[in-house]
């Protein structure tokens, strides 16, 4: 129509103008900098930087770069290495430790790391009773640590604890002056939440909560050696497949939360190195041994034999089936232990002996809402229970609610899935946390108790002779399997991806996703 010709002209001109200006706009380029910044992709946020309060692998990752502990753990199998303490000695009975601090060690404000600082830090940790204090609960108290001289610290344990050097890497030393200056009314917790008072090779450059955290290497770190990084960025990417894609495209150098499907997708991609290693991280389904139908040991055994372990392994991908309560490969583990396998006949035998010989009941299971692996395992259990004519009601819940439900046996569901991470490479870590009755009412060991097992665990903690210690743990595992308090599940392998230009990365099967930046370099 004629009258619209001019209108059309306007429209046409506007469109052309728009198209031309877009084409002419310079393409955005990533700034090529002489900086060497390592980008790490994780789906965990770091809401709190207080080394004596924060927990979680993301916090540990950043804290171990911002702060220093007395000793480190490195390598596969994990070995204790000097750090703030250049050497230490242990008394014959294993109760007294003497640490000699490295003279070069200094805080970010230039002041030296003294024995005073060590005592202050341990005292604060014990006083607050938060964060990693549980690792030394009952072992170290406010009288244990004493200053011998400016560079020597003595720690006297309240009870024997052979694994003590292995927990030290998670107990960080803070700068007493800075913390005291900003003590406030809560022992410095508010200030340390977002401020750093450490001696680490890195300091916090920028923090965008929910998005990213940037660390910057200090001008002259007191530690010698190390890689060529000038900084590192902890980037939060929630979806693991997006983490994988970021590494593929070079937008990130490391991805920490990858699934088996992600690793498969990365198999032949150029420039990417896959790290799939066994780790001491167990997954089991805890059974409510104190309340409900599962208090009946025959029913528990029936379910243990009906469970489809192969399906669990298939859906876990890169993993191994657990052989008993301790992770495969850890000191004290008995690879020849006799554990339940999928055997429907045996299952039905036990079922016949139980209080519900024909099944016909409904059991409940909770799992962490959003945790895909747990959902899969719940469905494997549902499918397995069908063969015993038992129904399963699956309830996704948020973790705090799940934790609250373990407070007493009647609040706990029948099945409770648990990942136990080995924070330190010693069997005591899992044995104590997961099977000692003092942990009842906690998510790690909600209800199971057996005085025989308790005694064995405590004996294992104290025994200094390696051979005797091994025998104690073998006995403990046998007893636990007898009691059938868990469905022993899988040990998922740790799955990480690195760009091929990342150098210096050594896999340690303890907290391997809490990456230490100092030794790393970018080509």
């Amino acid at each position: 129509m004629k009258q619209f010709k001019s209108l059309w002209r306007w429209v046409a001109m506007a469109t052309i103008l728009g198209a031309v200006s877009t084409a002419v706009m310079p393409q955005a380029q990533a700034q090529t900098a002489p900086r060497k910044i390592l980008v790490v992709a994780s789906n965990q946020d770091v809401p709190n930087f207080d080394p004596h309060v924060a927990t979680g692998y993301s916090a540990s990752a950043l804290l171990r770069n911002l702060y220093d502990p007395l000793v480190r753990v490195e390598g596969n199998p994990p070995q204790v290495k000097p750090h703030l303490a250049e050497s230490y000695t242990v008394s014959a009975d294993g109760m007294e430790y003497l640490f000699k601090l490295d003279a070069k060690a200094k805080f970010s404000d230039g002041s030296p790391v003294t024995a005073e600082a060590v005592k202050y830090s341990f005292d604060r940790l014990v006083r607050l009773k938060k964060g990693n204090a549980w690792m030394i609960a009952g072992i170290v108290d406010e009288t244990s640590v004493s200053v011998v001289d400016a560079r020597t610290v003595k720690i006297k344990l309240a009870k024997p604890f052979v694994a003590f050097p292995h927990v030290l890497p998670w107990l960080w030393i803070v700068n007493p002056k800075l913390v005291e200056d900003n003590k406030g009314t809560d022992d410095g917790q508010t200030w340390l939440k977002s401020n750093i008072a450490g001696s680490g090779a890195f300091v916090l450059k920028r923090a965008e909560p929910g998005n990213l955290y940037e660390l910057e290497k200090v001008a002259s770190p007191w530690k010698s050696g190390g890689g060529n990084l000038t900084g590192a960025i902890w980037r939060i990417i929630r979806e693991t497949s997006n983490q994988r894609l970021a590494v593929q495209r070079g937008e990130a150098h490391m991805a920490l939360d990858l699934t088996s499907e992600d690793m498969d997708a990365l198999k032949d991609k150029p420039g990417v190195v896959s790290v799939i290693e066994p780790e001491f991280r167990t997954f089991s389904i805890k059974l409510n041994t104190e309340h409900g139908p599962l208090a009946d040991i025959n029913l528990r055994k029936a379910i243990s034999y009906a469970f489809n372990y192969q399906a669990m392994l298939d859906s876990a991908g890169y993993a191994q089936l657990m052989v008993g309560p301790l992770p495969n490969g850890i000191f004290g583990h008995d690879p020849k232990l006799a554990v339940p396998t999928t055997d429907l006949d045996k299952a039905k035998e036990f079922l016949a002996k139980s209080k519900v010989p024909n099944g016909g009941i409904k059991l409940t299971m909770v799992h962490v809402s959003g945790l895909e692996q747990q959902r899969r395992f719940a469905l494997v259990l549902l499918d397995s229970l069908k063969k015993l004519n038992i129904e399963l009601d699956i309830k996704p819940m948020v973790w705090p609610d799940m934790v609250a439900s373990t407070a007493s046996p009647d609040k706990m569901a029948d099945f409770f899935p648990v990942y136990q991470t080995a924070n330190y490479g010693d069997p005591d870590n899992i044995a104590f946390a997961a099977y000692h009755s003092s942990r009842n009412g906690n998510w790690q060991n909600p209800v199971y108790k057996n005085p025989k097992v308790d005694a064995l665990i405590l004996a294992g903690r104290a025994e200094t002779d390696q051979a005797k210690r091994q025998a104690i743990y073998v006995e403990m595992q046998k007893q636990v399997v007898e009691d059938a308090p868990d469905i022993f599940g899988v040990l998922e392998k740790r799955k990480l991806a690195l760009r091929s230009d990342v150098q210096g990365f050594i896999f340690t099967p303890v907290a391997s996703n809490a990456v230490e930046f100092f030794p790393l370099s970018l080509k």
Binding site: M1, Q3, F4, S6, L7, W10, V11, A14, M25, P26, Q27, A28, Q29, A30, Q31, A33, R35, I37, V39, P47, N48, K193, S194, R206, E208, P209, G210, N211, L212, I233, R235, I236, I237, R238, E239, N242, L245, A246, R249, E251, A252, S369, G370, V398, P400, D401, V403, A404, T406, A407, N442, W443
Partner: protein, 335 residues
């Protein structure tokens, strides 16, 4: 005119009070125990009791409300248990990110919707019109989160034309934060590169969000333009010597303006409330993700904070729109 504005502004006060009362009531009616959550699973009964006193939870409800409401006015929107930061500080970080997304979505909706509606009206009942109408219907039915995934799949994963997620490339420092919206801050800082790269990151999420308002604007423009084309006053003004195109442009522009206002008023709540659906897909650190995390961990203060912010923004935006209607259509002022 002034009386009109003042009257509307004064009416805001009871609305805001009502909102805070409503949100406070809802949060206390819902099951959940924020004190137990804050205390942590290992807390003893005394610790829970003392924390309860600290939060003021042991006081009677009306007193708690008063404390909360007066706190809001002073800028104290409570503390997040999870992040252990004041909610107001968190909102300052996350709200601009979502607002940027919402503004961009509205911008795209107007940019594409108005010409599309015009086209549809001009070619009424021929194939461009049918196509546009079908696309509009499809756009309203399309779930934002699915479209976001598809866009990401095609343009980021397969073709690698656009960035995968986030607001800005990681290694580079964003422009100094003045508004918190990267596009605007880039322009203010004169950093053209930062501007284009922010736009690249903004494009897919904004597009996914814009589809519903876009469809509505298209429909409205089509209807109102068809109206205009058939009106008598057009003929009259033609007789008076004005050129045809200019006449139509005048009325069309006025309709475009009022359609835009209407759509913004209709969709601002929808856009802000549902931003989480697109934010999750693109790891966009906005209030949607912030609120969802808080909801899932039963962290009440952030949820209340986000709900109130969105409510306030909704009321304010609609107020401004009403005022603008008053400007373009004087009859409205005297209602």
């Amino acid at each position: 005119m002034i009386r009109f504005i003042v009257r509307r502004l004064v009416l805001l006060v009871p609305v805001f009070i009502g909102l805070t009362l409503l949100v406070f009531t809802i949060s206390h009616v819902l099951p959940g125990d924020p004190v137990k959550l804050a205390a942590g699973p290992q807390a003893t009964a005394e610790e829970i009791a003392s924390l309860s006193r600290e939060f003021g939870m042991d006081r009677p409800l009306p007193q708690q409300y008063w404390h909360y409401a007066t706190g809001l006015l002073q800028g104290d929107w409570g503390q997040s248990v999870l992040t252990r930061r004041p909610v107001a500080a968190d909102l300052k970080i996350y709200l601009p990110a979502t607002l940027e997304l919402v503004f961009a979505a509205i911008f795209l909706a107007i940019l594409i919707g108005i010409p599309a509606g015009l086209l549809s009206a001009i070619t009424a009942n021929r194939w461009p019109d049918y196509l546009t109408r079908i696309l509009s219907l499809a756009s309203i039915a399309m779930p934002r989160f699915f479209l976001a995934l598809v866009l990401q799949l095609v343009f980021a994963m397969s073709l690698a034309w656009l960035p995968l997620n986030g607001r800005f490339p990681i290694i580079d420092l964003p422009p100094p934060a003045i508004t918190g919206m990267l596009t605007i801050d880039s322009l203010l800082a004169g950093d053209w590169l930062a501007f284009t790269t922010s736009c690249e990151h903004l494009l897919m999420p904004a597009l996914a969000m814009s589809l519903s308002p876009l469809a509505t604007i298209t429909r409205m423009m089509r209807a109102s333009t068809l109206d205009v084309l058939q009106q008598d006053y057009v003929l009259t003004e033609r007789a008076l010597g004005l050129s045809q195109s200019l006449i139509i442009l005048k009325y069309v522009l006025r309709n475009a303006f009022s359609s835009t206002l209407t759509v913004i008023g209709l969709y601002i709540g929808w856009l802000l409330s549902g931003s989480v659906l697109v934010e999750t897909v693109f790891d966009w650190p906005g209030i949607g993700l912030y609120a969802t995390k808080a909801i899932v961990t039963q962290d009440f203060m952030p949820v209340m904070g986000v709900t109130l912010s969105i409510g306030f923004i909704f009321v304010l935006v609609n107020l401004v729109i009403d005022l603008l209607y008053g400007v373009i259509n004087p009859k409205v002022r005297y209602q």
